[in-house]
């Protein structure tokens, strides 16, 4: 049977040491059984490696930063759509999701489909609100406080014992062992990612993550748990293994069922020595390691595309346990002319 052709816009092309999910998403889409994907890369920086990986990305357009406003973003997307006739966009950066959510209806009227969490889901699972989220849905989360002003650090410090995890609004986290270090981290993170900065109780244990997909009606379409086997100094999994832990899947089902989660997600969990799972963070998008899920039998990017097009998608029931992913770096050689094109024309 001839597969239908779909043109899919994908961001997160920064396959670097703290990688965006674009690579995993595109690999999943290229392996989709239900369609043939033409990939339009959506980049923010000229040195995002996937711009130059023409076997994976057919054409790339630069996008304006989300901070420039949704009108400017929309006008750029209209320009891209006129040329490429996008069927679906999969935004993969936390920082751009808000803008895409705001534009979801408008883009749909243009024929561009997405399958994103609702604004309410996006806001209430935010690390700033994680404590109240855990309370509301009966999930174990570590104590966290959002700090909007440096002076607040001294007010809330007694609520924590050291070390404390200091997290940026969108990305990055540091461990602080005294108040001075919290202040240093606060300054660094607020300068880079804005306010608030989040202080979170340090939980010692092993890191487990779940990549999954909810249909927006309380059903889990996909869920694959992974134990991090090798962690970089940025806290990213450089290697991991698929595992069979019924409790993680149960927690995932509880999360999706109680929030009616719509779209892809990643649950970051910490398993303590007394075997308790703390929910450390919820990422409202596909994670960079999701190709492991594709490889063990759950093609989350493909299912996400089909859901965005309004098709019925049967939940995945199985996956292979004990499969590793091991990330590696690769030096890509690029002609100066290519760099010039994306830098000067904003497309390649």
């Amino acid at each position: 049977m001839k597969k239908r052709n779909l043109t899919i816009g994908v961001s997160g092309l920064n396959a670097i040491d703290s990688p965006g999910p674009g690579m995993a998403v595109v690999r999943g889409l290229k392996e989709a059984a239900s369609f043939k994907a033409r990939i339009i890369g959506l980049s923010y920086e000229s040195l995002e490696p996937m711009i130059y990986m023409h076997d994976l990305v057919d054409k790339t357009y630069q996008l304006p930063y989300p901070s420039s406003g949704t009108d400017i973003m929309l006008s750029r997307l209209e320009y891209i759509h006129e040329r490429e006739h996008l069927d679906v966009i999969i935004p993969n950066f936390d920082a751009e999701l808000y803008a895409f959510m705001k534009l979801e209806k408008k883009l749909k009227s243009m024929g561009i489909h997405m399958f994103l969490p609702t604004l309410q889901q996006f806001e209430e699972r935010h690390k700033v609100n994680l404590s109240s989220f855990g309370e509301k849905y009966g999930l174990l989360v570590p104590l966290g406080k959002a700090v909007y002003d440096q002076s607040e650090i001294f007010k809330v410090k007694d609520d924590f014992s050291f070390p404390v995890v200091v997290k940026g609004k969108w990305y990055d986290a540091y461990i602080a062992y005294n108040v001075d270090q919290i202040v240093t981290c606060y300054n660094k993170l607020s300068a880079k990612w804005g306010l608030p900065v989040i202080l979170q109780k340090f939980v010692h244990g092993s890191e487990y993550n779940v990549t999954g997909l909810g249909d927006g009606k309380g059903h889990t379409i996909a869920a694959v748990p992974m134990r991090k086997q090798y962690i970089t100094d940025k806290g990213k999994a450089w290697a991991g293994i698929s595992i069979d832990d019924p409790r993680l899947l149960e927690l995932t089902g509880k999360f999706v069922g109680s929030t009616q989660w719509r779209g892809a997600f990643e649950l970051e969990m910490m398993k303590t020595q007394d075997n308790k799972y703390y929910l450390m963070e919820i990422n409202p998008r596909i994670p960079a390691w999701t190709y492991l899920a594709v490889g063990v039998g759950q093609n989350i990017p493909e299912a996400l595309v089909n859901l965005s097009l309004g098709q019925k998608v049967e939940p995945f029931r199985e996956y292979r346990v004990g499969k590793f992913f091991i990330r590696y770096s690769w030096d890509l050689l690029v002609d100066r002319e290519e760099f010039e094109k994306i830098s000067m024309n904003g497309e390649l």
Partner: protein
């Protein structure tokens, strides 16, 4: 004490716990004991087989066996571990 049913042990002594993703390397005697455990033999029967095969004292074996069981328990590999 029994090994959890889902624990995979290969002929080389590589042990994998699919629930946690942890893996362990057993030495030859550890592997031999684990194989006997998988046959549902009692600690006494395992001791009998090992003592018959190797030139060692019963007291030494019992101490090492207890240490080995404690290690398996610590790593949540035994069936009676409550994972709550």
């Amino acid at each position: 004490m029994k090994l959890k049913k889902n624990i995979a042990v290969s002929d080389t002594g590589y042990l994998f716990n699919p629930s946690t993703g942890e893996s362990f390397a057993l030495n030859p005697i550890g592997l031999e004991i684990l194989v006997l455990m998988k046959q549902d033999l009692s600690p006494e029967a395992i001791a009998g087989k090992i003592l018959k095969k190797y030139n060692t004292e019963k007291a030494t074996f019992e101490k090492d066996y207890a240490d080995f069981m404690a290690m398996l328990k610590l790593n949540l590999l035994l069936d009676d571990d409550e994972e709550t």
